[in-house]
Point group: C2
Chain length 358, copies 2
């Protein structure tokens, strides 16, 4: 089996299920509530189906099938798998409010969409209504994910365990977001690589990990298999985030879909910044700090940081860290006693997640 075929096939199936679920909610809202409620579900559907690779639900399905094999009824596991996509989109909507972002997947962020709906009101009122609908949109998506899992057709201990992972995932994402915010206003020199890795594990890796664990719980997989998948998923996600940090400074604008150096402009504590404050000479550290705290970072500042980090081997160190994490992920998978086809898929997925250019 080829990874791309697998991704394409299940992305389609997951999207179809998400669409049906939200169409059903819109119909209920039309019948039982008012037209504004129905519009709310229509907008949530449009937001979710606008794009996205669906890697998290696919992780649920992949884990489930790697234990249960290919001869299984797929309907229930596909329905269950959508829960993590709802959770993910819930956090995207809330994060976009917090980051004051206005674009997401080539369209308006959810709160900005509603700012436009209410643009006939005075400007501050429209902004407040956008915020309100953004908060409610994220709230309801998390709730919908909960419902998708609960009503997926699974029952008993396996459902109970999967629900527990769903709760844990959300807790970790919230606590990771919290750390990310706190770290952005911390003294950079005091931040450790461990702080960064904890933040990434919670904010980014946890949901990827829990996606696999939800699939494994529903397949009643033994504990040792779960542990190996955890190690794999966390390592892949950490490597992904480091790669993302690197691309944010060294990628091409068209590839990453946002201006190069945004992280520098926002003063974010990326892995590059943390390594820089560990390894740069004193004078260069001071210069870097000035740039990170500046209100207006210029293109020249960004180029200066790029060259500085290259010169002192910081870029290299980050790349090495990312590569060693991918190696760790691959080792974990090699020790796994599952169907060889699925091992291949998992190895290819690790490469895919990290090697992407966008």
């Amino acid at each position: 089996m080829n990874l791309n075929e697998f991704l394409n096939e299940y992305r389609e199936k997951v999207n179809k299920t998400i669409n049906e679920f939200l169409v059903e909610k819109e119909e209920i809202a039309t019948k039982e509530y008012r037209k504004d409620n129905a519009e709310f579900y229509r907008n949530l559907r449009e937001f979710m189906l606008r794009g996205g690779k669906r890697l998290r639900p696919i992780a649920v399905i992949l884990a489930y099938k790697s234990v249960k094999g290919d001869d299984v009824e797929e309907e229930n596991i596909i329905k269950a798998s959508t829960c993590v996509e709802f959770l993910h989109n819930s956090t995207l909507i809330h994060d976009d409010i917090i980051d004051e972002d206005s674009l997401r997947r080539g369209g308006p962020t959810f709160h900005v969409l509603y700012e436009k709906v209410f643009s006939y009101l005075p400007k501050d009122r429209a902004k407040l209504y956008g915020l309100a609908f953004g908060i409610m949109g994220g709230d309801e998506l998390f709730n919908l994910g909960f419902e998708a899992l609960l009503t997926s057709g699974f029952k008993g201990d396996e459902l109970y365990e999967a629900l527990g992972y769903y709760i844990e995932a959300y807790r970790e994402v919230v606590n990771g977001e919290l750390l990310d915010l706190v770290m952005s206003v911390s003294d950079y020199e005091r931040l450790l690589i461990d702080d960064y890795l904890l933040m990434v594990r919670l904010k980014t890796a946890a949901l990827f990990e829990k996606s696999f664990l939800i699939g494994l719980a529903l397949a009643k997989a033994p504990e040792d298999i779960k542990n190996i998948f955890s190690q794999y998923a966390i390592s892949v996600a950490e490597a992904f985030q480091i790669r993302d940090d690197i691309l944010g400074l060294y990628g091409e604008e068209e590839e990453i879909g946002k201006p190069v150096g945004s992280d520098i402009r926002e003063g974010k504590a990326t892995i590059l910044v943390i390594l820089a404050f560990k390894y740069l000479p004193h004078k260069e550290k001071q210069r870097l700090k000035e740039i990170l705290l500046k209100r207006e970072v210029t293109k020249e500042d960004v180029y200066y940081v790029r060259e500085l980090l290259k010169k002192y081997g910081i870029l290299n160190k980050a790349e090495e860290l990312s590569e060693s994490l991918i190696e760790r992920a691959k080792e974990a998978i090699s020790s796994l006693e599952i169907n060889e086809d699925y091992k291949e898929l998992l190895l290819a997925l690790a490469e895919f997640v990290v090697k992407r250019k966008y």
Copy 2:
């Protein structure tokens, strides 16, 4: 059994359980995350335990015991009952952001508390961080309620059904809040009593109703008992909201804890406003509309509205509507085949909820 004794006894027990649950989360955060995460749970705990009558968890317990009787192990049902208090506080935190309120139960609202924590940052940054922590605080409380119910010790179909009610409650609260926002910027003359009652049913009544239904599901009560409790709970909550609207305009400032006439100042579509636009003569309607749309509503405006609505019998109509709802609630309870002591408690609770002066 006396209602006040029942309320006091279980409020204590519920508070103790909420406290222990959140202390445990703080300890986990201390061990596994960072001190800012631990502080987050400490602040959530302080926020929740600052006050509140705990009527919703008590409704869960009351419903459960009215079916199961007094000779039951209470630990599980008390743990389960806290879920609706977590959900309620989650919506309070998010609503306080939306309503831009800064006070709650004699202390700062959750987002304002964090605005203060970050007051060393530039003002707009501190405000954004307050907002971010408010969003995350509400998110995590809903998640904690979910966990409290899931880990309460109940299993099987009864837990499954209770979780379904929990999801439904949150959906209804979100959709009710949405309607409340939309109605506040609608043309008052086009709003119907039915719109108002739907909004109240979703925003206020649903969680009270689902609290009873969660208790009944966990007690494996038959459908007919559930239907009667639903009718009872929805009628009581609607009567409560109408009474709240009336007190907001005719109560004493010290009793209601906010300035008399706040609703008029905010242009809210209360039952009084909706009835006024149905029954007032044309000229008086225009005058009322002017006041509702004014930027600065004076004390004289508020007094004028008070007298106007009294004179045209609007106040009377609202009071009659509230009383007829309470009658409906009492009739529902009379037809219920449960222990007489619990019937008495439910009748007393209906009076208590509506007759309160604050």
